[in-house]
């Protein structure tokens, strides 16, 4: 009120009126906007695993024909991102290629008052990819550990007894995932035995990007879900120890649990699912939903 000293009292009154009226108008406008509720279609939001994003999308598309009153919205970002969003209660379901950790379950309970519930919806073999021209066929968990872990000392293909065609790039280009990825955590837990990754790996933001980069880089090695294989890459057989038979990441080997890097894919909900969410989950676990798991390149429940 200091900007004009020549004002009379009546000017103040006028100003106050103008302000009051415009404020009222703004409120009326806001009221109009929020008052118009749209209760046409129910939306289920599912977010999380990049490994499962294609699968979740395929489910959503097929389900649109099954139940026309429900829209399923799918987004990725990584298992960690989905779980974080579920703990805040901003989504209905989180897809994850790893299990929820104890502290994540606690934080979800603290924030939303509901206990997250886990549903296994399929299986995946975490495949180790190299370029299709790479002569390597088989790799052991120990070798993977030495390539990817912080203290591991394999940095060149020649250390694995391999010379790449062309031979100019002997250095191994490691392709990894960003730290919010469930695949990243699974690999760290089961291959690196919880040790840290060697810095300097290319950390991709999606399962598909890993396979694409490996497919365009002869000297690369990377890991990703089996559903993302294409004809530019080769999936290596994995042996637990050098000398043991190598096991290919196939549907059969995943189902009989002989593939060392097999894992379950899960969906989390807050509390016991009800209504549309329950219906959707039941459908995912039905023969129709499981057929889509297989079509997407993953392994259905037995």
């Amino acid at each position: 009120m200091i900007f004009s000293t020549s004002k009379t009292n009546q000017d103040h009154v006028k100003t106050a009126f103008a302000v009051a009226i415009s404020t009222m108008l703004i409120f009326v406008q806001c009221g109009k906007k929020t008052g118009k509720d749209e209760v046409e279609r129910q939306v289920i939001q599912i977010k999380g695993s990049d490994t499962m994003v294609n699968l979740a999308q395929a489910w959503a598309e097929a389900y649109a024909l099954v139940d026309t009153a429900v829209d399923v919205e799918v987004s990725g970002g990584g298992s960690g991102v989905g779980i974080a969003a579920l703990s805040k209660g901003t989504i209905d379901m989180a897809s994850a290629s790893r299990n929820m950790k104890k502290e994540e379950i606690e934080s979800a309970e603290r924030n939303t008052g509901k206990k997250p519930e886990e549903f296994i919806v399929g299986f995946d073999a975490l495949a180790v990819y190299v370029h299709k021209d790479n002569p390597l066929d088989m790799i052991s968990i120990d070798q993977l550990d030495m390539i990817f872990s912080e203290k591991g000392d394999i940095t060149r293909w020649s250390q694995l007894g391999i010379s790449l065609p062309g031979g100019e790039n002997d250095e191994i280009v490691r392709v990894s995932r960003q730290s919010s990825s469930g695949t990243y955590e699974f690999f760290r837990e089961h291959v690196l035995m919880n040790k840290d990754f060697k810095l300097g790996s290319r950390d991709m933001n999606g399962s598909k990007e890993v396979v694409e980069l490996v497919g365009s880089t002869r000297s690369a090695i990377g890991y990703s879900g089996m559903g993302y294989a294409n004809d530019q890459v080769k999936m290596l057989k994995v042996e637990l120890k050098i000398g043991e038979p190598g096991i290919a990441p196939t549907v059969a080997n995943t189902q009989n649990k002989s593939y060392p890097l097999a894992r379950s894919l899960q969906v989390y909900t807050l509390g016991t699912p009800e209504g549309a969410i329950k219906k959707y989950l039941d459908w995912i676990l039905s023969a129709q939903g499981q057929a889509i798991v297989e079509e997407s390149g993953y392994v259905p429940l037995d």
């Binding site: 009154v13 974080a84 810095l199 790996s201």
Partner: protein
């Protein structure tokens, strides 16, 4: 509505204007005043917010500031030994920015000199419109170009194993900074009074001598400001570098190494970090670090511009 009594002496003085017009004018005056102040309020509020989110970690036992600034080991989610070292990320940001400026400054200043001094009026208009268009391309589109086209070209022509690297990010950032450098540089050159040019020509200077000996020294502050704003753009850019640099935490040893920048790191990791965790707070601290860097650049640019206006 309470219409004021027109016999009141205060109203009689200017009865020709309706009370609504006067009231409206006052309201508008306040609104504009508020808009002006809001810029300051927003800056302060943003600074307060990121600092408040970051602050608790500074006093945490698991965190050391010297590690944060001088260690290259970035292991925010390690299950055995969590380390928050941003040196590799800071150097990544510096390296990408420096490379971008090495490419962008000659092109940017060259473009500014050409548009302001050499081109015909018609070409000037066409160029200015095109350059403004270049500035309007969204950064995610630049990132896309880097990820798909540029990376293939780099692999083909340099033999690098991976095309998403420092060189790729540097070229993309340079392309994004050039329009800023050109438009501000051109303004700076235009601000040199024509009497300078006339004097130069009268002394028998060639066009090149005129630019080199007269215009560049006269406009040097403005040109420096143009470059610094370009730097600010490059330091703060996120999406394009996230896509084009390969996202690898390492201190770069050559321009074909992949790097990760501070901004890209925050963008990639903030979504997963549980709110209130150390990781979350360290990412905000990274925000403070970035804020400090861009703030310094912008303030420097501002002082330089002010110096240039006085002349």
């Amino acid at each position: 509505m309470n219409i004021p009594d027109s016999t009141h002496p205060a109203c009689q003085r200017r009865h020709q204007r309706s009370p609504f017009a006067i009231g409206g004018e006052k309201a508008l005056e306040w609104l504009i005043r508020l808009s002006g102040i809001s810029a300051i309020l927003f800056v302060l509020a943003i600074f307060f917010f990121i600092f408040r989110e970051a602050l608790p970690v500074l006093f945490s036992e698991r965190f050391s500031l010297s590690q944060f600034l001088f260690s290259a080991e970035w292991y925010p989610t390690s299950s055995v030994n969590v380390r928050y070292g941003t040196l590799a990320l800071t150097l990544g940001t510096c390296a990408v920015t420096a490379l971008a400026m090495v490419i962008a400054v000659p092109f940017g200043l060259g473009g500014a000199i050409y548009i302001s001094e050499f081109s015909s009026p018609r070409a000037r208009e066409a160029l200015k419109i095109t350059i403004e268009l270049l500035a309007a391309i969204p950064s995610v589109v630049w990132g896309f170009i880097g990820l798909t086209m540029m990376s293939k070209l780099i692999v083909t022509y340099t033999g690098a194993p991976v095309g998403v690297n420092l060189l790729n990010g540097g070229i993309i950032l340079a392309l994004m900074s050039v329009p800023i450098i050109v438009s501000i540089g051109e303004d700076a050159l235009k601000a040199v009074p024509d009497s300078f040019r006339e004097a130069g020509i009268a002394m028998g200077a060639t066009k090149w001598q005129l630019v080199y000996r007269v215009l560049l020294p006269a406009a040097k502050n403005g040109l420096l400001a143009a470059v610094l704003l370009g730097v600010g753009r490059a330091v703060g850019e996120t999406m394009a570098v996230l896509m084009a640099t390969g996202h690898a935490v390492q201190i770069p040893h050559g321009i074909l190494d992949s790097v990760r920048t501070l901004t890209a790191n925050v963008a990639a990791e903030l979504g997963e970090a549980p709110v209130g965790s150390d990781h979350y707070r360290v990412l905000f601290l990274t925000g403070v670090l970035l804020f400090a860097i861009t703030f310094t650049v912008n303030i420097t640019a501002d002082f330089v511009i002010r110096g240039f206006k006085k002349k």
